[in-house]
């Protein structure tokens, strides 16, 4: 009997009813979400406070309200806050998207960046930088068009009297190889400073993020995140298999389509804002699931965990090498690997690995 099993015995969900509304509350999940919200707020303030121009916590709070030294207000509101908020929103978007994909495919190793759209975003951005094919559009728009365009391409190529999940993944693999090759070719062909700029975006980066990134991302998430949360019931039945879900009254085809659209939308807009930040979509839902003690990746907790991972990694990326600011994607790539290995070892020990 593991500690987790004993835990389940004592922390059964309970019903809360204020007629005609009623719902299920899981104590541990609520606690974990509250803790995550606190941690995220802390990291947000911390991220705003540090930098070349250190600002103390009380000054941060004052500057957020608009009062205090004008220089501090400028730094906080125009430079630091957009960056921190972008990191927060990207983390939430990637976390929720990853949770959706993993629940839909019933596979804890599924990740939305396996279907080619992050590679497509990369190709579009590098083409814009190296070839100048940007038509006046900014990097963010290019990345978005690349991601959405690739998603559409994959879907169309996989369509043959309907698109099964398996075929989408296979076509996604083919398309992502082609995009990766195109990106590598462009990086080799471009001049050095172009390659450097492009690579800086490709690893996932929060440097120089402005309010335009925050606004676009916030706007889309206001639409997509409630949609994701509303599909909670569908997710709960889809976990049990398509047939059982259909028997329980879930419109399986519609549900899968909606979930995929929301998942793709979140990843596409998140990638457009900060580049393809590695590992967040894969690891955040798994970490959230284990923290909350549920048998499936909980949506809200996954989003909050994603935000925690991105903000935390950004802090590390900025501070680990004094004098340089590393891109956030490098830290998530380095830290994500041990997390994945830990998942691997856990499933090995439980005997279900491989």
């Amino acid at each position: 009997m593991t500690a987790l099993a004993a835990d389940r015995r004592t922390r059964r969900p309970f019903r809360l009813a204020v007629p005609p509304v009623s719902g299920v509350l899981r104590p541990r999940l609520i606690l974990v979400c509250a803790a995550l919200v606190l941690a995220v707020c802390l990291l947000l303030c911390w991220g705003v406070a540090i930098g070349d121009y250190p600002v103390s916590f009380p000054d941060v709070v004052k500057a957020l309200a608009g009062s205090g030294d004008p220089g501090t207000v400028l730094v906080v509101q125009e430079l630091r806050l957009p960056r921190a908020l972008t990191g927060l929103l990207v983390g939430v978007a990637f976390g929720i998207s990853g949770a959706l994909f993993q629940t839909m495919t019933r596979n804890p190793l599924a990740s939305p960046d396996m279907i080619g759209l992050t590679e497509g975003a990369g190709t579009a951005v590098v083409a814009g930088i190296v070839l100048g094919w940007d038509g006046g559009l900014g990097i963010q728009t290019l990345g978005l068009l690349g991601a959405l365009g690739t998603a559409l391409l994959v879907y169309l190529l996989a369509w043959k009297n309907g698109a099964t999940g398996y075929r989408i993944i296979l076509v996604g693999i083919g398309v992502s190889w082609m995009c990766t090759s195109a990106t590598d070719y462009l990086l080799a062909r471009g001049r050095q400073f172009e390659a450097q700029a492009a690579l800086g975006w490709l690893v996932g980066n929060l440097n120089g993020r402005t309010w335009s990134q925050v606004d676009t991302l916030a706007l889309t998430m206001v639409v997509l995140v409630p949609m994701a949360l509303a599909t909670g019931r569908w997710l709960r039945t889809l976990q049990l298999g398509d047939d059982v879900a259909a028997g329980l009254g879930t419109p399986v085809r519609t549900a899968r389509l909606v979930l995929m659209l929301v998942g793709v939308g979140l990843i596409a807009f998140g990638t457009a804002a900060a580049g393809p930040v590695a590992f967040v979509a894969l690891a955040a839902p798994q970490i959230a699931q284990r923290l909350a003690g549920t048998a499936w990746p909980p949506l809200v907790a996954s989003g909050l965990t994603g935000a925690l991972v991105v903000l935390g990694s950004d802090l590390v990326a900025r501070e680990v090498i004094p004098g340089t600011e590393l891109p956030v994607g490098i830290v998530t790539g380095v830290v994500g690997a041990p997390v994945l290995l830990w998942l691997l070892i856990r499933t090995n020990r439980a005997g279900s690995g491989g």
Binding site: G174, G333, V334, A337, L340, N348, G353
Partner: protein
């Protein structure tokens, strides 16, 4: 009817041999300076028309073609081997972390150790590739059931992402490393030392021998671990042998020409379809050599196209392999000709 059917594999071999020979000749003849086939043949057989022709053919074209042959065969062979070992038709030889290891080796050599020579990095790339795949194999072997396909793949993803992140960290801060890395990363047969093939040939040879020798074991492995064990295969040894072969073949090839591992993913599928047409079932004793012959065809074809399409500017073969092989792969997926996982 039986005799006609048993002739088909022979026909296939003959056709492929002809195709490969033709591509080799084209590769020698075509390029920024086009040499008529007659001249090319004469130069090959020791009667060059001019010193210039002699130089071009023997110092540039022949080594390049030989590299395409050797590296292509290595990647095709290791791809087929990897797919058989992991029973996963979507495996490419890079999943053991070879590409990431090679990349890391290169940038480490340049940024940290200050290796300046354009050709010195190859050994570091090879060492990095070997080290990475050893780590992946050891990690994948941890736990009860040994190095099962899923665990190997997971370990590969983890190590690959770690190494690529570290690689990116280095190249973003060191311009020399970035330059060397990006030219290597696209995958090219050009700009190589003319005797680099000879240097990696021993490793490729050993790897190929190991790979081809284990074809019967792979056939048993395809039936599942339990059945294979009951047929007398020692799973740990088989996997060890397989991973060693993949390490040597892919590591050496990738260190020189770059991570053109998509070749190892798509060629075995083409080989499977061809062997179906030839009336041979999924038999690794055919699939391995078939992949080893088909892959250089694709690689050389990509290289030739890359040289000719925008003369005298070259498009690297690595980029074109994905652009030729990718649509092929997608067409296979649509026709459900892909082996189901």
């Amino acid at each position: 009817m039986n005799r006609r059917r048993s002739l088909r594999p022979v026909l296939l071999c003959v056709l492929l041999a002809l195709l490969l020979t033709a591509l080799c000749l084209l590769s020698i003849a075509l390029g920024a300076v086009s040499i008529p086939p007659g001249q090319a043949l004469r130069a090959l057989f020791g009667h060059p028309d001019s010193q210039l022709t002699q130089n071009i053919i023997w110092s540039a074209r022949v080594p390049r073609t030989a590299l395409g042959l050797a590296a292509g065969a290595a990647l095709g062979l290791s791809g087929a081997l990897m797919q058989a070992l992991t029973r996963n038709p979507l495996a490419d030889p890079g999943i053991l972390g070879v590409s990431a290891g090679a990349a890391f080796g290169i940038v480490l050599a340049i940024a940290v150790l200050g290796v300046g020579s354009l050709y010195g990095y190859v050994w570091f790339a090879f060492a990095g590739a070997l080290a990475a795949s050893v780590v992946v194999f050891v990690l994948g072997r941890s736990g009860r059931s040994g190095a099962t396909p899923v665990k190997l793949a997971l370990a590969g993803v983890a190590v690959t992402s770690l190494l690529f992140s570290l690689t990116n960290a280095i190249v973003l801060t060191d311009p020399d490393a970035l330059n060397r890395y990006r030219f290597w990363s696209v995958g090219s047969l050009a700009d190589q030392d003319s005797d680099v093939v000879l240097r990696i040939l021993p490793f490729l040879g050993v790897g190929a021998l190991l790979a081809l020798a284990m074809a019967p074991a792979l056939n048993s492995l395809a039936l599942g671990d339990d059945v294979a064990a009951s047929l007398g295969r020692r799973l740990h040894l088989v996997r060890l042998q397989g991973v060693t072969a993949v390490m040597l073949l892919t590591g050496a090839a990738v260190a020189v020409i770059g991570p053109v591992v998509f070749l190892g993913l798509v060629v075995p599928h083409i080989a499977r379809i061809l062997s179906q047409y030839a009336g041979i079932g999924p038999d690794n004793r055919w699939l391995l050599p078939l992949s080893a012959v088909l892959a250089p065809c694709l690689l050389l074809a990509a290289d030739i196209v890359g040289r000719m399409v925008d003369r005298p500017v070259e498009i690297q073969a690595g980029a074109l392999v994905a652009f030729i092989g990718g649509p092929f792969f997608i067409a296979l997926v649509r026709r459900r000709k892909l082996a189901e996982v």
